[in-house]
């Protein structure tokens, strides 16, 4: 396929790998904070191609995985109310809450629909005027502009039965928390490509200036990832710490102004709970009071008491402290068919990637 095959060339891959190898013998830990990177690293067998001194660690880059259990319980509670239709991206449907999942609620008769975009959820609202539609607003800065657009369109078209239960997240505060936590030694960040297409490169500047940790904004094809690894290793060997953009064909330093304006119009920045990490200041997006009628927080439901699966170490996996193999539940009790934690559910979850491809 044009514009794809060029980025999957074996000869070039081998060349970059040779360069990485000759560049450094140091033990280097690089963290990716995007689930799509995690999956593509595994899908292409990149981890095993790298020289043994280069270690890739998966961070909190999967929006499904960092969504707290209480949020899942909240949406499950809403799904049990009459007259509600829950609309969601497919990945969320299997995420275990304290005692149930949306998939099970669907089998019990709740109206839960998988959509491909927020605007499709808006269509569901338009076509079902007597129902209350809740869209699960889960995601990073790639998703939040689309949620904002849907809210603005709902306002314009007066689709007043459309709501969003937002737990949208901002990635860079989580990266700061990981660096402050010092649980894992991070020598460089493989920064998310699509998130950066929206936010640009500036939000990562503090990482290079304050923490002296190199950042490279990376595309999603195998050669993008290998080249980004090369660029990070080069920075480390040169003693530099800069935000570089490898994914130049998509990402501009200033980001996407239209998308950023929409986020700013609809959302306010709030403190937010991250599964496995805890509450991170100013890391979440909540719908502004001005658009309050489109926020599902206006519905009052009783939410069950939060119960974490016993022994689940998703939190440590998300922070890159352990690999899934070190979790006692991995592959035994916890499998994609019977997931105990979110990291095993989402196709972009670290545990699912280890399970599926390793």
């Amino acid at each position: 396929m044009k514009y794809v095959d060029e980025y999957r060339n074996k000869e070039i891959a081998q060349k970059i790998l040779r360069q990485v190898k000759s560049l450094s013998k140091k033990k280097i830990n690089l963290m990716e904070v995007c689930g799509t990177h995690t999956v593509n690293i595994f899908r292409n067998g990149i981890k095993k191609m790298l020289p043994t001194n280069i270690n890739l660690i998966s961070g909190p880059g999967c929006p499904v995985c960092v969504t707290p259990i209480r949020y899942i319980d909240e949406i499950i509670a809403l799904s049990r109310e009459s007259d509600f239709i829950i609309t969601t991206f497919g990945d969320m449907i299997k995420v275990p809450g304290s005692t149930s999942t949306l998939e099970k609620e669907k089998a019990n008769g709740s109206d839960i629909r998988i959509v491909y975009s927020t605007l499709d959820a808006l269509e569901v609202a338009r076509n079902n005027p007597s129902k209350k539609i809740v869209f699960m607003g889960v995601g990073f800065e790639t998703t939040s502009p689309t949620i904002a657009s849907a809210v603005l369109k709902a306002q314009k078209d007066e689709i007043n039965n459309f709501t969003v239960l937002s737990v949208a997240k901002i990635i860079s505060p989580a990266m700061k928390t990981l660096l402050d936590g010092k649980e894992v030694n991070i020598d460089g960040f493989i920064c998310p490509g699509h998130v950066s297409a929206i936010i640009g490169s500036k939000p990562y500047n503090f990482i290079t200036t304050q923490y002296k940790v190199p950042c490279v904004i990376c595309g999603f094809e195998p050669l993008d990832i290998l080249q980004s690894i090369y660029m990070l290793v080069k920075q480390i060997e040169d003693g530099r710490a800069e935000v570089e953009i490898q994914y130049e064909r998509v990402v501009k330093p200033e980001g996407n102004k239209i998308a950023l304006d929409k986020i700013k119009e609809v959302f306010k920045v709030v403190n937010s709970d991250w599964r496995g990490i805890g509450n991170i200041p100013l890391s979440g997006l909540e719908i502004k009071d001005k658009y309050g009628k489109f926020s599902a927080r206006k519905f009052e439901v009783e939410i069950e008491e939060t119960k974490e699966s016993r022994g689940c170490r998703c939190g440590e996996v998300l922070r890159g402290v352990i690999t899934p193999h070190e979790c006692p539940l991995f592959r035994g009790v916890c499998t994609p068919e019977n997931p105990q934690g979110a990291c095993m559910v989402s196709t972009e979850g670290t545990c699912a990637a280890y399970y599926k491809y390793n």
Binding site: N9, K104, P336, E337, T347, Y355, K356
Partner: protein, 336 residues
Amino acid sequence: MKEDKILLSHGSGGKLSFNLIKKLFLSNFNNPYLERLDDGAVLNIEGLKLAYTTDSYTVDPLFFKGGNIGELAVYGTVNDLAMCGATPLYLSCSFIIEEGFSLSLLKKIVLSMREASVVARVDIVTGDTKVVNKGAADKIFINTSGVGIVEDGVNISGSNAKVGDVVIINGPIGSHGIAVLSEREGLKFETEIKSDTAPLSSLVADMLEISNDIHVLRDPTRGGLSTTLNEIALSSKVDVEMNEGDIPIQEEVRAACEMLGYDPLYLANEGKVVAFVPSEVAPEVFKKMRKNKYGEESKIIGKVVRKSEGKVFLNTTIGGKRIVDMLTGEQLPRIC
């Protein structure tokens, strides 16, 4: 969190389906025929080898680019017989119809079944009709069963793969999955991709003409190529290695997968066969396949590398290597 409920994933053709079949159906109905978990059973009746299979068709939407539920109901069962190495002869056909269903649509479906049965050279010789209350079924479900004759000397089974076997597929994968998905409510998108729905019995007959010694034939329907190869690897206790670059996938299907985040290896097919052929006869079989209308785009995609507990590996385009697992859970909603 074990639940007493059937989830859609139990019918997806992936791991949950596999477990349900093994733990509930196989353990209760256990017999040597069923135990092989092949696409059909080959029964030995007084020296005659009779292949027998059944399948239910619940595809939504009923009409999609490149096919419809009626055509699928004929070709699907014909193909299951062909995968036993049989010449398909007779089909049964049961309709479960929801009250209020359009009679003209039903006519369209039946006409299409008639045409398909002419193409596949089978007769529909018995049947049944049930109409259920509105809401008790989704528009129309069709079940077909089929019988066919297996020639002496033909012994095809998912458990027959041997070290050294060459793995051949008769054309590009994933088009049925994408064609159906693109027409589903809520997910609609514009595409020219057509379902690959096709009868495979003439292709299989051509292959058997070259050699009786074909080890495995399987049609990678639900769960796709990955799940089928995993099933074969598991029941034959061998490791299979594929080369990513050799797996034929249409440009449009690849593009749709890139866009939607699907893996074509798990997409359903309705006109594909995966064959495990001994290396000595593989070149001739391959050549013959290429000459058949339904095998023009055949490709050799891998081989059986060793005896083991049964894993599938993929050599990636950029030179990496990874495991290919069965489909776990449901990648797409109801497809066939």
